[in-house]
């Protein structure tokens, strides 16, 4: 399900709206993922506090959304743009790629919460496709 020209422009203009809140969205999404999908906690056992309010969760959520923002700017070549992150996730972090979908769901839900009027079905479908393509690019180096 590759990104059409329309998907790319929808994603770019929606990102312009949400970018100022990106760190907050990331923190919220990661906190929700750890709460609603407890199996994802297995990747973060080295953090003391996995609650949505924890400083580590907030910081890492912001880091993740920073990378999503970078992906928006390399939307024409996600595999190239995410190559180093893919290497990291494949060889060091070894996150089961099924979890990318879980995180994407929580990012989408958080965006819907923060921007309910803007997150129309059309924006939803393009942004979900975009995150799916990000996940695909992130899995590129796995095997």
């Amino acid at each position: 399900m590759s990104l059409s020209g329309k998907d790319k422009s929808v994603v770019a203009s929606f990102w312009d709206k949400v970018a100022p809140k990106a760190p907050e969205i990331g923190a919220e999404a990661l906190g929700r993922m750890l709460t609603a999908y407890p199996q994802t906690k297995t990747y973060f056992s080295h953090w003391g506090d996995l609650s949505p309010d924890s400083a580590q969760v907030k910081k890492h959520g912001a880091t993740i959304m920073g990378a999503v923002g970078d992906a928006v700017s390399t939307i024409d070549d996600l595999v190239g743009g995410l190559s180093k992150l893919s290497e990291l996730h494949a060889s060091q972090l070894r996150v089961d790629p099924a979890n990318f979908r879980i995180l994407a769901h929580n990012i989408i839900l958080t965006m819907a919460m923060f921007f309910p009027e803007d997150f129309t079905p059309e924006v939803h479908v393009s942004f979900e496709k975009f995150l799916q393509n990000v996940a695909w690019a992130l899995s590129e180096k796995y095997r």
Binding site: T35, M113, F114, F119
Partner: protein, 147 residues
């Protein structure tokens, strides 16, 4: 059988109380058809559902959204009995409607997103977790008669 704590029961009811079936039903169904267009395969009798504008204006889509939420209302009121309660509906979706049960999961996600738009921060992470546990039980019950 899924076990529910008193807190989980009251959480699910509290979320559901805020849902206006007439308002949210049509939104959810439109979202499913727009975001997961392969679901169009099940709605040949609905007329034009092939563009976003058509979907958003289609009265059959809106009506079906309400039908589905009315069925979900039964689950909210019968959390301990979902499998038995949905047995006939599950069989219908399998034998007659021939719906791939993965679509129940997609629908559940769209329901949660629509509720997130409405409830905003009232849908806390813990409430989200409980609500999603409830929908997962519904999805399981709806998939239970497939053989």
């Amino acid at each position: 059988m899924v076990k529910w704590t008193d807190l989980e029961r009251s959480t699910v009811r509290a979320v559901w109380e805020k849902v206006d079936i007439d308002e949210i039903g049509p939104q959810i169904w439109a979202r499913v058809l727009v975001v997961y267009p392969w679901t169009e395969r099940y709605f040949g009798s609905f007329g034009d559902i092939f563009t976003t504008t058509a979907i958003l204006n289609n009265t059959k889509v809106a009506a079906h959204g309400k039908v589905v939420l009315e069925a979900l209302d039964k689950a909210v009121k019968n959390m301990d009995n979902m499998k038995r309660m949905y047995a006939a509906l599950s069989l219908l979706h399998f034998q007659k409607l021939e719906v791939d049960p993965d679509n129940f999961r997609l629908l559940a996600d769209c329901i949660t997103i629509a509720i997130a738009c409405k409830l905003k921060s009232a849908l806390t992470p813990q409430v989200q977790a409980t609500w999603q546990k409830f929908l997962a039980a519904v999805v399981e019950a709806m998939s239970s008669q497939y053989y």
